[in-house]
């Protein structure tokens, strides 16, 4: 009997340990920045402007490549504004959103942080971001007219601007010059259509499967989304319905999956496997976004063998490249809003945006700063990323993008493994996506 009680208690304890993770939200880590709070409060009662006392502004982001550049910019900013210190808080992409969610629930958001189209609705609709309208109106450095309209509208909710556009990105066709030379195929250029891509992939695929012509991985933004919009299809309609059952979408998906079916592309699902495939010489061509630039430039194999160009057009000449951009946001409950705005104002101003481009951090959103970014990198012909902006298509999003993106992956993978026809997979994807959209 004693033993039985012991084992039951033991079992219950072990189960409880995992339950514990669910019920309580981990409290956001107290940042050292919470200290100057009191001092800035004292200021306001003393009638002095907040910025005259030294404050530390926390700055949350998820890209370690970019963090290096921002350390430099933060240093320069502090030199110009000796009272404001910037503390960068770096988290990986998925940890970033888990941590930000917890911090928002606990009221301990970083003073300033990056925002993404996938998550803007959730944060904006719950007042987890500071409304920047008054700050923007009062500023002589920030005017929403100076940024691409599509980007501005992503971060505008109910007429309130919740983030200042930071950068944008498009997708390019990366190709291995050495492999092209070997196979005697002409390099891709802006005249290419899907059929040219297919023919080239055929010539570049080796019969022993040690080298494939094209990487048609199961990935949306750096994969089939581009095909769908080039073909005039859609992923999400204006009235928030799935576009996967659109005949144009299915047609594009069929063409995309054909590369896998005909053995011209390896079958690849995992995110990390994609960059492995291209950086290890498994594929001759692949779609990758402009944000990979610093990673690819630092990779010896990539910088020696690769170049990049615009995406091929659909057979009927339709062009598109998936376009997305980040924004700078401020926590709604920060006690250092003025200093936080100063930092964001600098980052969003022409001066800050030029600096971001010069340092090669990202394609700055500010109109007319693109040349500075193009000149920042001599390894690849990166002007193509700018050329594609004129027909770029905003990455499809709704209120719960990350949910239905996962659900559609689950439905679509059968098409890549050959378990389902592409049409069936697309119809399944439309069904699960619509179900998820009704729950929004």
């Amino acid at each position: 009997m004693k033993n039985r009680i012991f084992s039951i208690v033991l079992a219950v304890m072990l189960v409880l340990t995992i339950l514990a993770g669910c019920g309580s939200t981990p409290a956001g880590n107290p940042t050292p920045a919470s200290q100057p709070d009191t001092s800035s409060k004292d200021n306001s009662s003393g009638g002095k402007p907040a910025s005259s006392e030294p404050v530390t502004i926390t700055y949350g982001l998820w890209d370690s490549n970019q963090a290096v550049g921002f350390e430099k910019m933060a240093e320069e900013f502090t030199q110009a504004n000796p009272n404001i210190k910037i503390e960068i808080q770096l988290n990986g992409w998925s940890d970033y959103w888990t941590a930000l969610d917890a911090a928002a629930s606990a009221g301990t958001l970083p003073d300033t942080f990056w925002m993404h189209s996938n998550n803007i609705y959730k944060y904006a609709s719950n007042d987890m971001l500071l409304n920047l309208n008054d700050y923007i109106n009062a500023s002589d450095k920030i005017d929403m007219k100076n940024y691409p309209e599509g980007l501005v509208s992503i971060y505008n909710y109910n007429g309130k601007q919740f983030a200042v556009p930071k950068d944008y990105d498009t997708i390019g066709l990366w190709y291995n010059k050495t492999m092209f030379d070997e196979a005697g195929v002409k390099y891709p250029d802006e005249t290419w259509t899907w059929d040219d891509l297919y023919e080239a992939a055929k010539k570049l695929t080796k019969p022993d499967k040690s080298q494939y012509g094209f990487l048609a991985a199961m990935h949306n933004q750096e994969g089939f989304y581009n095909f769908i919009y080039q073909n005039g299809g859609t992923v999400i309609t204006a009235d928030k319905k799935s576009g996967y059952d659109d005949p144009k979408t299915i047609e594009a998906m069929e063409y995309y999956v054909k590369f896998v079916k005909d053995g011209l592309s390896p079958v690849i699902f995992g995110d990390s496997d994609r960059s492995e495939a291209i950086t290890n010489g498994l594929v001759a061509m692949g779609f990758f976004g402009s944000w990979n630039l610093s990673g690819f430039s630092n990779n010896e194999f990539m910088s020696q063998n690769f170049d990049v160009t615009v995406l091929p057009a659909s057979p009927s000449g339709g062009r598109a490249s998936i376009f997305n951009g980040l924004g700078y946001a401020i926590a709604p409950n920060t006690k250092k809003a003025d200093a936080a705005w100063k930092w964001i104002e600098y980052l969003g101003s022409k001066e800050g945006q030029l600096r971001q481009a010069e340092l090669g951090i990202a394609i700055s959103a500010y109109n007319g700063t693109a040349d500075a970014w193009v000149n920042s990198n001599k390894t690849f012909n990166i002007k193509c990323f700018i050329d594609m902006v004129q027909y770029a298509q905003i990455r499809p999003y709704s209120n719960t993008t990350s949910v239905w993106e996962d659900k559609t992956y689950e439905a679509l993978r059968g098409a890549f493994t050959g378990e389902k026809t592409v049409e069936q997979a697309c119809r399944d994807a439309a069904a699960v996506m619509n179900e998820s959209l009704t729950r929004e």
Binding site: L19, A20, E276, D406
Partner: protein, 316 residues
Amino acid sequence: MPKNDLDAAYQEGLKKMKNQLSRAKVNEWLWGWFLIAPTTIGLIVLNIIPAIQTFYLSFFKSGDFGRGNIFVGLQNYVRLINDQQVWFAVRNTLLYTLLVVPIGVFISAVIAVLLNRNLKGQGIYRSIYYIPVIATPAAVTMVWRWLYNHHYGLINYVLKQIGLKPVNWIDDPDIALISIAIVSIWSTVGYNMILILAGLQEIPQVYYEASNIDGANAITQFFRITIPMVSPTLFFVVITSVIQCMQVFDVVYMMIDVARPSYDRTVSLVYLFYNNSFKYLDKGYGSAIVMLLLLIISVITVIQVRLQKKWVNYTN
């Protein structure tokens, strides 16, 4: 009257003694409670209260940032019953447990028996088998992911060298669960081995000596002495391993993305709970999934405890 007096005095004395006894007992109880307080408070604050909150949360549709939860009654549970993926996860979790526990316990028992002898370099072997337990599961899984890599992994390289076909360890739905089980067995064998070894060393040598005189051979000794004597330890190892296996998360999470074709055949209940609670931010539904897991573990544990009478021997 004197008899009555005596009686009264006796009664009074008895009462006094009783009082004293209970006072001493109360004192002892207080000390007992005081001494277990740190653990108990920790358990209540960190485990029991959150567990009750989780149960409570499973009746709500959770709002963003923990605000605006809407009571939905049993809706999460109805959705759970109709969700094919939940049943995939139940099947995967049970299948994984059935793979890992018997094989894992068997291997650790064999190693423990081998290491229980007077072996040269015994300490080194014990350390080698124990090292995987010390390593972080995430780091271990990263290394295994490279070994399993379809195109560049060491395992497939070796297979190719000896003329076999490479195996798609991670993406093939029929194989992925086995790949995960291998990692888990490899990383838990050392821990179970140490426990069983401790149990083996508690067996008094006299039993073996006595049976030698009676003419028992090594095999009879193993089944008639070693197994029964070590069965309480084995029971402990099995029951904790089963519970650990039912809660498998890190290896699957690190190895299998949602996009992979093997996802439906490998997703565990805890992984599904994690995705729903923290990725899709549907904490109410996630809580319902964990409640299902609690129910399954409880049932399995009760069955195991019932069955223990049949095979576990407690001496004394």
